[in-house]
């Protein structure tokens, strides 16, 4: 049999019955459309969560001190005075792939400037902090190692603090008063927005951790140590090495620290949306299956209805194989065309959802490929039995069929 003839035969047969062809496609259109729409919406949601997690920083491993247990009750992670600046220095020196380290002191207090005051987070950090958090400065520069050594009274502030205290002014070079100590503002961070937990990340003032420990809080321990691993793949290795190193250094029976990685946060955060997408994909697959059954049903009816046509074709020389191929091509054409329309419709409805709710939607190429392949597969599977039945017809019986 020649290559193009079967396609011509099938195309003419489909054209003869436009309405039936359209209705047959409808099941697949709806099935593929709902799969694509569901996947687009959940992928968009997952991407949004991932972006939020990524805003925590680049390949971050965080060491928290253990919880503080006292007479009055137990504190949370970071409350026990177990982590020191020496721990941070040891990590930077001895752990492979730990490219940036920042001992961190978290505090919250009233700050003053311009005759205004504002309650904000005041963090002690190292100059590595912007690199670890993947957070650029909008203006000015980060304080330096020299500032850390000299307990300099310098600060880098976030967008919210700027808005609250320095509206319509350039804050660079101005003074921010923390605990009655004037800090010179040397840099302003770019806006990062809210994090995964709904906290305004821009509501912050950052000063050298030494200044924080000696001038403000007068203490010798840090709340946590932020470490940046060189690559995504080295995160686990860095985590394990820190665990080993810290156990050696602290020598306590029970570890008085915890090491968390961004991967873990990522996994927790995306788990919900993954469950959602599996659920949606399952529902959508059911509608695809129903669409496939619809095609098989109509093809079966159509074989019976077109018995005489099959007889005529056989009489003029169509072999069983030619009839099989014709019906198979008809089924596959219907399902693939339905799939294509479904993809377009699914993407369009995802766009409508995006426009009306503000959720971001993303249609992954992978799923477009899956939709194409599975609709072709559905066509072959659901078309085969009717096509085979048609090809087995006896030409004499078929010609006599009324």
């Amino acid at each position: 049999m020649r290559f193009l003839a079967p396609f011509k035969i099938a195309a003419r047969a489909l054209r003869r019955n436009k309405m039936r062809s359209l209705l047959t496609m409808l099941g697949i259109i709806i099935g593929v459309g709902s799969v694509i729409a569901a996947v687009s919406i959940t992928t968009g949601a997952t991407k949004q969560v991932e972006d939020k997690v990524a805003s925590l920083g680049q390949n971050v491993v965080t060491v928290f001190s253990g919880s503080f247990s006292g007479m009055s009750g137990r504190g949370g992670w970071g409350s026990a005075p177990t982590l020191t600046v020496e721990d941070a220095n040891a990590i930077k020196k001895e752990v492979n792939n730990a490219v940036a380290v920042s001992p961190e002191i978290n505090d919250r207090m009233q700050v003053f400037a311009n005759g205004l005051n504002w309650n904000t987070r005041v963090n002690g950090e190292s100059p590595d902090y912007p690199q670890i958090r993947d957070w650029d400065l909008a203006s000015g520069a980060m304080f330096t190692d020299g500032d850390v050594r000299s307990l300099a009274k310098v600060a880098v502030i976030g967008k919210t603090v700027v808005d609250q205290l320095f509206a319509n002014q350039d804050p660079l070079g101005q003074t921010l008063i923390i605990r009655n100590i004037p800090f010179k503002i040397v840099g302003v961070l770019e806006s990062k927005g809210f994090n995964l937990f709904g906290q305004d990340q821009d509501d912050i003032a950052i000063i050298p951790y030494t200044s924080h420990m000696k001038r403000i809080n007068k203490r010798t321990f840090v709340n946590s140590i932020m470490v940046q691993a060189a690559t995504k793949d080295s995160i686990t290795q860095v985590q394990n090495d820190i665990n080993g190193l810290m156990r050696d250094r602290h020598k306590s029976a029970e570890p008085d620290f915890t090491v968390r990685t961004q991967l873990e946060v990522m996994q927790m955060a995306t788990q919900t949306s993954k469950i959602m997408s599996v659920l949606l994909a399952a529902i959508a697959s059911v509608s695809l299956l129903v669409g496939g059954i619809g095609i098989m049903n109509i093809m079966l009816v159509s074989v019976t209805e077109r018995t005489r046509e099959i007889g005529i074709r056989m009489a003029v020389g169509a072999r069983g194989r030619d009839i099989l191929i014709q019906f198979l091509i008809e089924a596959v054409t219907l399902s693939v065309a339905g799939g294509a329309v479904g993809i377009a419709l699914g993407m369009a409805s995802a766009q409508i959802v995006a426009a009306s709710t503000g959720w971001p939607t993303i249609t992954p190429m992978l799923w477009i490929g899956i939709a194409c392949i599975s609709s072709a597969g559905i066509g072959i599977v659901s078309g085969f039995y009717p096509a085979w039945k048609a090809s087995r017809l006896d030409p004499i019986e078929a010609l006599r069929y009324e």
């Binding site: 074709r313 009489a315 003029v316 072999r319 194989r321 004499i396």
Partner: protein
């Protein structure tokens, strides 16, 4: 007349084994039909003419006996090989026209070429179909669909379809069964013209009037050939049409 017969049947038998009773539809038919012949196969229902027709048309295999079509032994071919023979050698014309609905006359005529083993270009398909339609006088209706054509015109399209692969044999099964008498004569006129041009035609019919337009009449009874003779008082479709028109005019005048 050439030496080699188009159809050579030797002791053809067809037995239908349905349940306990065997039905002996054709009981030993031996028959030669030569190129350029125009044969009517007649017989009452149950005489075995349909069964014989199916065997000649390569739609069915005889239970026993030898059948050579255009020199090829087709009595032992399988389904696919028979389909190829039908495509190459035989043009079918049916009682019910059997055109594809909602499909233009031209595409109906093109249809057999889509099953050719040799590739036929779209242009050649088009040209050959048009030529075929011209031959039956319907070239101007090429883009009409069956429901826009009269019965006689539909049967002409069916004849054009039968001719498009230049078959060795035209096989007609009650071709005038669904037509009025004047249209029947017109269709027989088409057959006579084709036969004059050298086409071998075998036609199954139960109407003696129609059979009289052929050259040779074979009458079957109980699965055997009863008579096989030349048509003595052969009718000419052109003359008959003239007579009919004269008669109609006479009625109108009167």
């Amino acid at each position: 007349m050439q030496n080699r017969p188009v159809i050579q049947l030797a002791d053809i038998q067809k037995i239908y084994r349905t349940g306990e009773v065997d039905v002996h539809a054709v009981r030993g038919v031996t028959l030669d039909i030569f190129p350029g012949e125009f044969v009517a196969i007649m017989g009452s229902s149950g005489s075995g003419k349909s069964t014989l027709m199916n065997a000649i048309g390569c739609l069915d295999r005889p239970t026993s006996g030898l059948y050579r079509l255009d020199g090829i032994d087709v009595s032992a071919l399988n389904r696919d090989e028979l389909a190829k023979i039908r495509n190459d050698k035989i043009g079918f014309v049916f009682q019910g026209f059997n055109l594809l609905s909602r499909t233009t006359a031209l595409e109906n005529v093109e249809m057999p070429m889509l099953y050719n083993h040799r590739r036929v270009s779209a242009q050649e398909q088009h040209e050959r179909s048009l030529k075929s339609l011209e031959l039956v006088g319907l070239a101007t209706r090429a883009d009409h669909k069956p429901n826009q054509l009269s019965g006689g015109q539909q049967q002409r399209v069916a004849i054009a379809r039968a001719l498009v692969n230049q078959p060795a044999l035209l096989l007609a099964d009650e071709p005038t069964g669904n037509l009025d008498s004047q249209t029947s004569i017109e269709i027989m006129g088409v057959f006579q013209k084709l036969n004059d041009a050298g086409m071998s035609i075998v036609m199954v019919t139960h109407e003696l009037d129609v059979a009289r337009y052929t050259k040779r009449m074979i009458i079957l009874k109980d699965g055997k050939i009863r008579t096989d003779e030349k048509v003595a008082d052969r009718l000419n479709a052109e003359n008959e049409l003239k007579h009919l028109k004269q008669a109609q005019e006479a009625v109108k005048l009167a």
